[in-house]
Amino acid sequence: MAQMNMLQAILSAQKCMLERDDNVMIFGQDVGYFGGVFRATEGLQAEFGAQRVFDTPISENGIIATAIGMSINGMRPVAEIQFSDYIYPAFDQIASEASRIRYRSGGEYSTNITIRTPCGGGIRGGQTHSQSPEGIFTHISGIKVVMPSNPYDAKGLLISSIESNDPVLFFEPKRLYNGPFYGDPNAPSIGWDTHEKGEVPEGHYSIPLAEAEITRTGEELTIITYGTMVHVVETAVKQTGVDAEIIDLRCLSPIDYDTIINSVNKTGRCLVAHEATKVGGFGAEILSIIQENCFWKLRAPIERVTGWDIPYPHAFEWEYFPVPKRVGKAITRIMEA
């Protein structure tokens, strides 16, 4: 085992797959010689050559389209979209092409592309470097949507994503790249060496897609979340002292129904937390799953703590962000209901 932050884990997963499978190709804006603006592909071009790791034109549409084309010719492409805020020019290629090639061709053709993209706020990125657009993509049939919350999961899930014969959209909460974030922007930064999930095997391992993880077992309340909010929620649970069960979904599509349903049926109370905006967000889908499957076991209304329904404002980042205090208030409301 080695100590890795989330970037190192993501780099390690890519390196591992470049070594194991000659068909793996990695590309995107600035990912080649420079190694990516977040350094998630650092050194890969030097080690594996520019034929396999290279820079592309600034065209998200072109990056994803060519990735699809490469996959049809036997490659296993890993494309980086520099910020998930920039993914929209590629939307048609993701929603209408990658997600439907297997279906529309009656299974004759399929694409295995993995799209890595940093998401989420908390780094003073303003409204163009902070979005969490996962809910836009979970609505689409045919693309898997993954979001890890720690280095160990990031590597295992990214390896699974690259090895998957289905297209995968792999969101990386950038606030977690260098360390866990417990929700207080004024607290000193701490590294992943303080967290057990910062222990990452150097070699190959994989975590199945569509398996949520219970990061804290509890009896009184189920909190369903993913990405950065896993750690923020943990803080709120500590502060309120409630015996909550925390579920880190890890994979949003397909979703792990059983883990959610079993937990809520056990606790009878549920809170859903995500950083993305509320209306039409992925939390609404989770609420529906619970309502459809756990209604008669519920002892309180389900609540959602999310980003407000506004763009991510630069100067008001921490008023937007669902900080532990907001999560705590919701926990209290549910427990008192």
């Binding site: 190709m25 034929q51 396999r52 592309t56 034109p57 065209s59 549409n61 072109g62 389209a65 060519t66 990735a67 699809i68 084309g69 490469m70 996959s71 049809i72 010719n73 036997g74 490659m75 492409p77 020019p89 048609d92 290629q93 209408s96 092409e97 090639i101 297997r102 279906y103 529309r104 061709s105 009656g106 299974g107 004759e108 053709y109 399929s110 049939s141 045919g142 898997k144 998957s164 014969n165 289905d166 569509a210 397909p254 979703i255 129904y257």
Partner: protein, 413 residues
């Protein structure tokens, strides 16, 4: 104060085709060069030295059906005859399918009448092992590559033998064994994918070529532009074909910026060798396609080709062109009918006859009829056998997910 006499008042320019219903389009405004005007460069030429080819028109067959000029590469009579046969079969197949739509047997169809030379000549100039990322009017490639008519019909009928399992509109074919990519229906998405396919081929050091097609209208799509940029950046073995058939449903090519310059000229801006070809001239399309394929195979990279043609057919069975263009416009198209032109040429060189042509047309008509009878035995969209309904929940992912299993059960399957 000085009054600037030279200034013009701003006025939003809304482009309009020159002629509308009730008028006669004589196409007098088109400059049709002679066959000897376009030089044929070597495949290792510097693209900057052949820019004129993007503004001219590569032609081989003159108005009398004689072959000439630098692009006359002396295609063997066997290939020419094969081309004529494939074009004839394509046209007769289209006519039959259009008729089936009128009788309610299929829900939709798109003919390629007047554009047969482009798909067929291009297909014959390439190898069957070369990859095609098609648009929706490339049925000539399928027919030229020998895709069984029965398979095409079953796809159009969405019946129990449809390889797309009833999921796609008619004509959205997929033929993996024939290196023919699944047709999307979302315009131009294949154009940039094709560049990626060719990039992978280059990385593998392979010698297969990738070819892809887009219409004049959909050159406006983002995929067209990213395809050109990526093709220019990575220079993979890809042929980027624009079929300029003048009309995108009811929108004339002027609405895609066609007034300013040629569509082939789009390639000049990114430094790609760009050819503009008489798309109704089988010999010219074949020669230009072969030139591009030879370049790609020899490692010189991407080529852009504009095939200049006319969409004789409606856009689709849902379209009525008489509402937006002169009814006889296709009759006045100065580049003629591609089938007639090739037939005339073959007769001129004593390699074909009217009698043979008539006989072949009869034979094909009978074959199509027989194939259709067989296709219908596998069902139609509205009657007979259908694809397995429960299969509609499959192929979302490699493995079916629990929510889809539950929904399938909810449907009672």
């Amino acid at each position: 104060m000085t009054k600037h006499q030279s200034s013009r008042q701003n006025n939003l320019h809304i482009p309009e085709p020159k002629f509308r219903p009730g008028q006669t389009n004589d196409f007098a405004h088109l400059k049709i060069p002679n066959v000897d005007e376009a030089p044929k460069p070597a495949i290792d030429c510097n693209p900057h030295n052949i820019r004129d080819l993007a503004y001219g028109l590569i032609r081989v067959l003159d108005d009398e059906g004689q072959a000439g000029g630098a692009w006359n590469i002396n295609i063997t009579p066997d290939i020419l005859r094969q081309g004529l046969k494939d074009m004839l079969l394509t046209r007769l197949f289209d006519d039959r399918m259009q008729l089936l739509h009128r009788t309610g047997k299929i829900s939709f169809y798109m003919k390629c009448t007047g554009e047969e030379a482009i798909s067929v000549a291009h297909s014959l100039a390439l190898k069957n092992s070369d990859m095609v990322f098609p648009s929706y009017r490339n049925q000539g490639i399928l027919i030229s590559r020998g895709y069984p008519l029965l398979d095409m019909m079953c796809q159009c009928l969405s019946n129990s033998r449809d390889n797309c399992k009833g999921r796609q509109l008619p004509i959205m074919y997929s033929w993996k064994a024939g290196n023919f990519f699944t047709i999307s229906g979302n315009l131009a998405t294949q154009f940039s994918q094709a560049v990626g396919w060719a990039m992978a081929e280059a990385r593998k050091g392979g010698n297969r070529v990738c070819t892809t097609f887009v219409g004049d209208g959909s050159t406006a799509e983002i995929d067209f532009h990213s395809a050109l940029t990526f093709a220019a950046t990575f220079n993979p073995p890809v042929i980027l074909n624009i079929v300029n058939n003048q009309w995108a449903i009811s929108s004339n090519q002027v609405v895609a910026g066609g007034e300013r310059t040629t569509f082939a000229a789009r390639g000049i801006g990114v430094g790609l060798p760009s050819l503009r070809v008489d798309g109704n001239d089988f010999l010219a399309v074949y020669a230009a396609s072969k030139w591009a394929a030879d370049r790609a195979r020899a490692g010189y990279g991407a080529t852009l080709i504009e095939h200049f043609t006319y969409r004789v057919a409606p856009h689709s069975t849902s379209d009525d062109p008489s509402a937006y263009r002169p009814a006889d416009e296709d009759k006045n198209w100065p580049l003629g009918d591609p089938l007639e032109r090739l037939k005339t040429h073959l007769i001129n060189i004593d390699e074909w006859s009217e009698a043979q042509h008539e006989q072949l047309a009869e034979q094909y008509t009978a074959e199509i009829k027989a194939e259709y009878k067989q296709a219908e035995s596998y069902g139609t969209l509205t009657s007979g056998a259908r694809p397995d309904v429960s299969s509609m929940f499959e192929d979302i992912f490699e493995e079916i997910t629990p929510n889809r299993i539950r929904q399938r059960q909810e449907l009672g399957l």
